[in-house]
Amino acid sequence: METRELLKWSAQVKLREKSKQEGRLEHGHRMCAGCGAPTVVKMVLMATEYPVVLSNATGCLEVSTCIQEFTAWKTPWIHTAFENAAATLAGVETMYRALLKKGKMPENVKFIAFGGDGGTYDIGLQSLSGAMERGHDMLYVCYDNGAYMNTGIQRSSATPLGADTTTSPAGSANPAGKLQQRKDLTRIMADHGIYAAQASPSHWLDLMNKVKKAHSIKGAKFLNIIAPCNRGWRTATDNSIELSRLAVETCYWPLYEIEDGKLKVTVTPEEKKPVDLFFKPQGRFKHLYSPENEGVLEKIQAQIDKTWERLLKESEGPC
């Protein structure tokens, strides 16, 4: 990115001022070196300028940020189980409303749930859908790293087609790895009639704006944020932001939002790059470059192109 552009963004979000604020996620957490998830959380919390209460699904983020008497959280935080970050926070938010009614709480408290893709797309989908349908005043943030990373890289319904995971391994009988497409959770959430958006830590201004926008809306909101996992993606520890950027620039992870049923692409890459640039640095896709997987990458590229065209069409539609 152009230095000038970068400084312009920096000025917009008042990064300098932000850096003077006390962070809400403390160092000393035990996420792997270079993990994308703490950066995602840090950015989401950085965008909040009001008291927040958090819940967290069981997963990497949860086990690494609150172990024994060591908690990295500087704002109220609760973890109960894997599939219920949304239901748990719904309970907290409901109690907040009960106490607010009785004059026992201030009016400006906001609620955010964090869950990985396993805890969100799969086991937590029912709990999430229920909380969104009931319209609790909360933002659910999925940090999507595309597999069950905490238990050791097992496939989830967020795992991309073709990825090698420990439960969708590429082998001699099945050289392709995961055979199914990802579930399009952002659209599913949008169909709850709520604000739903996709973001990436590489595009932090867009990410923070979406958090702000979400919190300006009363009711349930959903934000799906790509969070590269070096271990699971089989890539270098310094690669998480670069890969999240490539995910956007290849349109593998398009940045858009859906509000009142209207879709808007929020970042259009200046030049749409081939998905190969996003896949190549990742060991989980290495097998796709072998002869027995001829045509798989093309199939994936075609799917990405189709989705992107559809998004642009919808985004350009009457509004």
């Binding site: 996620l25 160092h27 908690t71 670069e242």
Partner: protein, 95 residues
């Protein structure tokens, strides 16, 4: 270690941000070094650091907190530098 009689019922952690007592700097195999002359103070290193290990004072980057830096190298990779020259470089630890 604590005895059972010393524990908080329900395992509630009462001290916010107590993870600061757990230093993760020993995980590092590479060490970021700041070349101040190439720094444009864009704060990208601070923004992208997953470990809150980039020190800032009065809105400016002032160095690294090696008690917590795990040496991932994201800061160096994302550093735009000045005229193509990086303000952060990674060096093997212990050399």
């Amino acid at each position: 270690m604590k005895k059972w009689t010393e524990l908080v019922p329900g395992a509630v952690v009462l001290e916010a941000g107590s993870s600061a007592k757990f230093k993760t700097g020993s995980w590092r195999t590479f060490r970021p070094e700041w070349l101040q002359e190439n720094c444009i103070q864009c704060l990208m290193c601070w923004l992208y650091c997953p470990d809150m290990a980039v020190k800032v004072a009065d809105g400016k980057m002032t160095g690294f907190d090696y008690d917590y830096c795990k040496g991932c190298g994201v800061c160096a990779k994302e550093c735009p530098g000045k005229q193509g020259k990086k303000a952060i470089i990674m060096k093997p630890e212990g050399k």
